[in-house]
Symmetry: C2
Subunit: 219 residues, 2 copies
Amino acid sequence: MGAQGLVAPSALIEQLQWRYAVKKFDPHRTIPEDVWQALAESLRLSPSSFGLQPWRFFVIRDRALKAKLLPHSWNQQQVVDASHVVVLARKSEVGEAEADAYLTDMAQTRGVPLEQLAGFGKMLKGFLAKPPLDLGEWSTRQVYIALGQFMTAAAMLGVDTCPMEGFLPDQYDEILGLPALGYRSVLVCPAGYRAADDAYANLPKVRFPAAQMLTYLGE
Amino acid sequence: MGAQGLVAPSALIEQLQWRYAVKKFDPHRTIPEDVWQALAESLRLSPSSFGLQPWRFFVIRDRALKAKLLPHSWNQQQVVDASHVVVLARKSEVGEAEADAYLTDMAQTRGVPLEQLAGFGKMLKGFLAKPPLDLGEWSTRQVYIALGQFMTAAAMLGVDTCPMEGFLPDQYDEILGLPALGYRSVLVCPAGYRAADDAYANLPKVRFPAAQMLTYLGE
């Protein structure tokens, strides 16, 4: 493992081909706890700009709560049938306080005095004070990285997912009480296992050819 | 494989812990061709909203061209030393023409007449005609998913990466000639192998604890 890698290149491709956006989950299958914990870790370990982690991940397994979300999810039944529904949220605010919390955690984790992180801290706070784009949007983009890592990790573990932009964030926020916690919902990703009769599972994956999607420059 | 999964949960976590943002690549190590092809496929197979793939991935291996990018990359030497530098770009425009190209590809791939996709096409074009946010920003967000899938896939294969927002997109675009091709650079991700003396490789990963990052609701 580590530098040796965990999977063979051909197996990786096969597994990414196996992945698709599930339309119909098997409502009777639950993700085993050890598998779920690895998926939770894939979210927590996601890379983000500066490592700031301007996010939190809300997980819903309760059927009644899932049902409340359904009408605000374009009635996509995946939200009810999937084993775990993940709501990927960004921090409502990102500023000095969030930078300090991060720097403190970094100092503790690495066993160094805060002063040793002064240079990095200055750069980070300088960015947050004069960001090149709206920080809400910047945080939103980071959340999309976490979604990418989560779906890929799930595919590696044989867990199905369905990424969703199609939901009403304001309604989700209200039902889940996110603003009071300082978060705003960005993406939803039900995870679980495809139903045996999900017709979409057998459709060939549609992707433009490599010659069109990858361009090698300077050669 | 497939539903059985490719990796054990504990191995997945270990491999994601192994990943970090490389500060110093080994300039003498090249990603083997079969491994690179799997990484290229991880980009091509990335999920995107509607499956529209509003992106292209530009790959630079040529040392002279990499050197030209260095001053526009906050002088981050990773851009020169990494085996492959990937510039993840979004389409400059996304509209009716892009939707039609996608629908045509879908019809061909699935062997169905275009008319059979009319309902989906109408929904997609309706979204693009009245998007809930700027389509440039929407496409940009999709590119972040591809970055997430790419970095996670690389970690599975034992390949190191370094995600970068810190570069000058306009300069990159000009040097690489992207606008003429209809693309705008969004992210840069050098990939290759960490140098044996990259001190950052041995620093403990800084992440807020799971209790703070994952919240279970409705239980």
